[in-house]
Amino acid sequence: MSPADIFVVGAGMHAFGRHDGVSGRDMGEHALRAALKDAGIGWSDVDAAVGGSNVSGKPDSLVSRLGLTGIPFTTVKNGCATGGVALSTAADMLTAGRAGIVAVVGFDKHPRGAFASDPAAYGLDPWYAQTGLMVTTQYFAMKTRRYLHRYGLDEYALAAVSERAFANGAAHPMAWRRTPLTSAQVLASPMINDPLTQYMFCSPGEGGVALILARGERAHDMCERPIRLASVEVRTRRPGSFEVFSPWLTTDPVHSPSIDAAASAFAGAGVDPADVDVAQLQDTDSGSELIHMAETGLCEHGEQAQLLGSGATDWDGDLPINTDGGCLAGGEPIGASGLRQVHEVVRQLQGRADGRQVPGGPTVGFTHVYGAPGLSACTVLTSR
């Protein structure tokens, strides 16, 4: 699906981090009001809404706070890809002509520590969790180890991803982790799932993000610098991919829903990966970002160490990645995380980034989320 004429006309966010006494729904409401203000409209102007939260309440219940205007409000829940799926659903409503202005919201408030997962919800029997295998961080570490082995990369590339994320986060007022860390500090932090150390993992966190989408003619009336949603694509896994919570895999699993979603998003937008001026990639851990750089087509497999080492992925490099600090510096409130990526790219393309502004007037942005049990959502956004 290629949304021909859909624009982001407003973006709002509740800072990520830990916010005692503030509920997930509070953060969603805060983000929605900020996005409406950014678009210069009121809730009564919104024709339809889509919301996502993994564990922190029903997004559609926000109508009781914003106004009982009677609009359709769709709730989505697709793991770490929730934000991308919410955006895709909103785009479909606009493309189908069912709405002229759609609000998208995502929020979550996770308890401390690693995510707990219910085997039955994934179609797995209790033994899988009882024997200690149902841990998402194990998957990230095992996929990373195989990837490093296959493409001749090492832990210094993993540390470079974290160093850059924390440097960007330190400059971003919405980020959670605001202290820069050197690669040496990242490597010296406790080993969590070998080869991934503590500072190579993001933490479940809290936050909210909202976007306002509109169709072409209205978008330009409402917003001085609307950002075109040139494509948004969602894909689930196919045979031969290496996914989280898999008691078995096919031999030599090299496929990934990220590959499919990214290729389709670039094709739908008529954009080449080489044209991307700023990208946000799923970085639940630094190994995942390394892998996603190549799976999305932004570089060749094995090329990552050179790109990271040369500063190409820094905010002022040729291929800036996770300019807001990504999940590593922001934490991962699941429902909000994918929309956070779009929020950052929109602000970058409008030339009003909250943190480090990519120089030179970026015009093409890309976002990528990946979630359990094997799905990905990608967008291409342009200021043209």
């Binding site: 520590g113 690693a114 707990a116 085997p119 029997d125 209790p126 033994w127 969790a129 009882q130 024997t131 200690g132 295998l133 149902m134 841990v135 194990q138 570490a141 095992m142 996929k143 180890r145 195989r146 082995h149 406790p190 080993m191 969590i192 799932n193 070998d194 080869p195 991934l196 045979p239 898999s246 008691p247 078995w248 895999l249 096919t250 031999t251 699993p253």
Partner: protein
């Protein structure tokens, strides 16, 4: 006390241990644990088979923190452990690993006590 399998469906037999997978008659995809329908091609002609008891380490990691319930650490406290995927030729199986390993190491199937009189499957390096 005699140990019992944490889930009978994982094993063809416990002594000596053999894992039960299934093989698709239409597309030859082998899966573990055994399935009634092939997740590769959705075919219904699947046969329960015993998986090889030896393979090689395809990837691995360590688990340094205690997983959340229903995992239960032993009564003497949580001990970090190793997990990995073992290449059994037709399928990669995710498993607890006993001892240290590297990619490519040859490993063989054994049982692992998980407390409460229950055992699960694990692989350990073949001692040559």
């Amino acid at each position: 006390m005699e140990s019992t399998a944490i889930d009978d469906r994982l094993f063809v037999e416990l002594d000596p241990p053999l894992l039960a997978g299934s093989s698709c008659g239409d597309c030859d995809v082998v899966v573990f644990p055994a399935a009634h329908r092939c997740p590769g091609c959705t075919g219904e002609y699947v046969t329960r088979i015993a998986l090889p008891n030896r393979g090689t380490i395809w990837t691995w990691t360590t688990q340094a923190f205690a997983p959340k319930p229903p995992y239960q650490p032993s009564s003497s406290g949580f001990e970090p452990f190793v997990v990995g995927y073992v290449d059994l030729g037709a399928v990669l199986v995710e498993s607890r690993i006993v001892g240290e390993v590297a990619i490519g190491d040859e490993v063989e199937l054994r049982l692992l006590d998980v407390g409460g009189g229950q055992v699960t499957f694990a692989f350990a390096r073949v001692v040559s």
